[in-house]
């Protein structure tokens, strides 16, 4: 089984706008040289998620790492439910589904380990490494 770590984007790293002809993070589809001022929309937490992401990929290349928006229920809900339901039943799976949508969450095979702020980049890598070793052992 592939070991998968999902990092949930920070809440302020907002990038989805629904609706045709207005949706998406379309500023990237419009602006040529990023000249428009989007500083009010920048969030330092996304740099931390990026750091965690890059370290995980660098130090644990066999682990599949994904970054997902908290609002991407079409992916998060079924993925987390399937992963947890097998081991811990429906109620626990539903609770885990809800917890998984916490911005900044770190999910290891569907289970929430914590969030990137509390764990920090080093903490996430250490925890994931420990879990991987557990599976291998």
């Amino acid at each position: 089984m592939t070991t998968r770590v999902v990092l949930v984007r920070p809440w302020r790293d907002a990038r989805v706008g629904s609706s045709c002809c207005g949706g998406g993070d379309a500023r990237h589809g419009i602006c040529f040289d990023e000249r428009v001022d989007i500083s009010t929309e920048h969030d330092a937490e996304k740099d931390l998620v990026a750091q965690v992401y890059l370290r995980l990929r660098d130090e644990l290349p066999d682990v599949d790492v994904q970054i997902v928006g908290a609002e991407n229920t079409a992916y998060l809900v079924p993925t987390v439910f399937r992963a947890v339901h097998r081991r811990r039943g429906v109620r626990a799976a539903l609770a885990e589904v809800n917890r998984a949508t916490t911005a900044g969450s770190v999910l290891f095979n569907g289970e929430r380990l914590g969030d990137v702020i509390t764990l920090g980049a080093g903490g996430v890598v250490k925890e994931v490494r420990r879990r991987v070793a557990q599976i291998a052992g």
Partner: protein, 584 residues
Amino acid sequence: MPAIVVAAVVGVLFFLGYRYYSAYLANRIYALDPAFVTPAHQLTDGVDYVPTNKHVVFGHHFTSVAGAAPIVGPAIAVFWGWGPALAWIVLGTIFAAGVHDFGSLAVSLRHRARNIGSIAHDVISTRARTLFLLIIFFLLTLVNAVFAVVIGNLFVANPGAVIPIVVEIPIAIFIGQYIYKTRSAALVPSLVGVALLYALIWVGQQYPVDIAPLSEAIGIDNPRNLWVILLFAYTFVASRLPVWMLLQPRDYINSHQLFIALGVIGLGMLVGWNQIVAPVVNDVPADSPSIFPFLFITIACGAISGFHSLVSSGTTAKQIDKETDARYVGYMGAVGEGSLATGAVLAATAGVVASRADWDALYPDFNTASGGAVGNFVNGVAVFANNLLIPLDLAVIFAAVVVISFAATTMDTGVRLQRYIVQEIAEVAGWHRLARNLTWASLVAVAVPLAMALIPGGGDAGYTFGVLWRLFGTTNQLTAGLALTVVAVWVLRMKRNPLPAVVPLVFLLAMTTWALFIQFWDFVEAEGRSERFVLAPLDGIIFVLALWLIVEAAMALRKGAARREYDDMGSPLDADVDTGEARQ
């Protein structure tokens, strides 16, 4: 014929389109290579460039492109009969939108995930960048104008929807703050937000808000116009807020609503076994716009939407893990939008009324069809909901709330994007103070579409809306034309068959220029001052942009046949062609 059977047939056709035609495009035309190192891998930064599972990318991509626009056009276009409307949606989705959305993504992947405007600058000409900005400026102007009119009309027709929609704003802000400050899970609060919204439907029904007396008291004859002014005042403020504060939590609530609405439409259709009562081909009055070319600009989103190229090339391309994933994400995005449009056709032909005579009363002429289209969709969905034992009067408000929520989100983001465009154009023109002043840029972004929504507002509501909608359709098709030109030139320079892109390109440009030409003379010969002095010049400008695009496309294709700037797999041979790294 039962609506659910038609939906099933369309589903099968879309499946075949994905299974065979998109495979042909992937293997023979775009030459996708599973070993190609995508920009997400080349430039991984964990922020924008992130190799991502294709289902995750599709989730983001689809919510970015699905919304109210593919509902409105089809609900108007059934005026010509459900057969032509559905045929254009199915053929357009399979052979035009699929090629366009998938192609924009594929070409962007080979250009370091740069956006279609930047790539057009390189593969078409330096002028193409200005052309791109102008087309998008008019596209967003008309998007914001038509959706303001849509919401205004729905508020006037469904005063019970006002309270839920207005109160949704503070609910969304509260949820956003709550999730951010408490670092709590987002799912349950957002579901509570949906539940509150639906509870407010009952409140709205008890306390409908009619602003006609206020409108009259302040000297605005049409209450819709007062709503339009209030909506633009709101979007001016909303577009200045960070995305996470209002737009994101409201979108989150809307994403649940999308699933609920799709479930209600599908299940309600199945349970009620509603029959399509509209004619396959309608015998329209002699003075109606002709099916050629107007059907093909009335249904833009749902058959092909140029806006998708902005999402595909600017954002989605940065997250594609394997190049071969582009087929699933790009083509299926188009299929998803086509499915929404099919739902709109069925709601407006099977849901809304029970007999042919009733349907004829709703679609007696083009202006009535245009003015009533969104209302017909709302009432159609309400009938499907009623099949599931939801009381009809509540179901109508529910459906209106869903449509208004999507339209309002489109306006929120549309005005924000328009501000970016104003800033970009100001930079290109050298007006640096405007480019860097958010307040002035936002004012321009609001004032131009506000004027568009109000200037022809004195006339018949259906006429006003129909005119704005058709102008919007032309600019959306021109955006698609620009993206298809880029795709065609790229394919040609790879020495592959450009016809899958050239055929829809030629068709779209022919329909668009033809429609613009007819409309121009209609406006010039009209008696109203707004037609002669506002709509005719606007139509003329868009017509010139269309001709400009045709010339650029022809020159680029001619040049493309002679030059070879890409290897067999579509990557630029000359490093100068690909300067994306510096730009991004």
